[in-house]
């Protein structure tokens, strides 16, 4: 179970980075970066998970007996998501301006343009 859980993290991260390296479109590149970044979200939540655990929300507890999962990791994942959204927004804005200046979103042809 551990191997699968942590394997997903490594796989998602590497697949995301591969997408960034091999990308032919800046918007595709930004999405790949989000994929790589989501690996960190999953890792945080997995570190905080406890088998049979319930969410760290203590409302109507009799229905959800058992231990609570790690609330600190969930708070960190929330921070991660917000920072990820900020980075994605900034990169997409850059992509808009690159397309206006260079007329292309392909990072490979972008290198040849001079302005």
């Amino acid at each position: 179970m551990s191997a699968l859980a942590y394997g997903v993290v490594a796989w998602l991260f590497l697949v995301g980075i591969y997408g960034v390296v091999s990308s032919r479109n800046l918007i595709h590149l930004v999405v790949c970066l989000s994929v790589a970044q989501s690996a960190t979200d999953i890792l945080l939540l997995e570190i905080g998970y406890r088998s049979g655990g319930h969410a760290p929300v203590f409302v109507s507890l009799p229905a959800h007996a058992g231990p609570a999962v790690d609330a600190v990791m969930q708070a960190l994942a929330l921070t991660d998501v917000v920072v990820g959204a900020a980075v994605t927004g900034l990169l997409l804005a850059l992509a808009v301006q690159v397309h206006k200046r260079a007329g292309t979103l392909d990072p490979d042809t972008l290198r040849a343009t001079k302005d």
Partner: protein, 252 residues
């Protein structure tokens, strides 16, 4: 570097990274076996100490409130950065699409889409406010609720047109709310200093756990964060929308 050379380089680097990741992840405690002592302590204490039922909110906005302050500032600077990046450049001008064909009016959306937009946007506003205000009780809070509130504006755009949606998002009001939301967090933190405690200490009456008004400063901080996030994401929506709708190259 050619494409093939880059991929070859990546393969070597990725293999090394995979090994490192494997060793690092392999050293973690097995999945689902335990949580940190810190988290166990907070799970046990938060309810009695801070009178909240959602421990995640208590951690975000109280125990580790200073982290969230910086997180909020990251979001504020990102929104400011995007506004700067997407401003009309020196060879561009703002021009409404209708100006180009004054004899033709923009066709209105179909009544079905309009009705759906009215229904959905009011529902989104309601759920957004509910998520912001119940952050200390159930999963949710300022960040999540703020995004839901901002998405109501996207739905309004879907069902109407650019001119109508501009009325829903006056730029000065949005920018002011963004700033007020971000600085409000600091001011609520300063309340702690005013009564002689430390910055961001929970000095407001805690109320009864499980009630809507409980948790002291936690719902207040959720509220200012909700205002900031909603305004920030609405600014983002309007900046990207402006790029396609009104910002054009100046004709010479």
């Amino acid at each position: 570097m050619s494409r093939r050379a880059r991929l070859a380089f990546f393969t070597v680097a990725a293999a090394a990274l995979a090994v490192t990741l494997g060793v690092g992840l392999g050293g973690l405690p097995s999945f689902g076996s335990q949580i940190s002592a810190y988290a166990r302590m907070l799970n046990g204490l938060a309810q009695s100490q801070r009178h909240v039922t959602d421990v995640v909110s208590a951690i975000s906005f109280d125990y580790r409130g200073i982290d969230t302050l910086f997180e909020e500032f990251i979001l504020l600077s990102a929104v400011a950065g995007i506004s700067v990046l997407l401003r009309p450049l020196s060879d561009e001008t703002r021009e409404l699409p209708a100006d180009k064909a004054p004899d033709r009016s923009i066709p209105p959306p179909s009544p079905a889409v309009w009705l759906l937009a009215v229904f959905l946007s009011s529902l989104l506003v309601l759920i957004g406010i509910e998520t912001v205000t119940h952050g200390q009780l159930t999963p949710g809070g300022g960040f999540q609720g703020g995004v839901i509130l901002a998405s109501a504006i996207y739905v309004v755009y879907l069902g109407t047109n650019y001119v109508t949606v501009e009325r829903f998002q006056p730029a000065p009001l949005l920018e002011a709310s963004d700033g007020v939301g971000a600085s409000g967090y600091v001011f609520i933190g300063l309340l702690g200093l005013l009564v002689g405690a430390s910055f961001l200490s929970n000095v407001v009456g805690l109320g009864v756990a499980g009630n809507l008004i409980s948790g002291g400063t936690i719902p207040l901080l959720n509220l200012v964060v909700g205002v900031e996030v909603a305004a920030g994401f609405a600014i983002l929506a309007s900046e990207f929308l402006d790029q396609t709708a009104v910002i054009r190259t100046r004709r010479r």
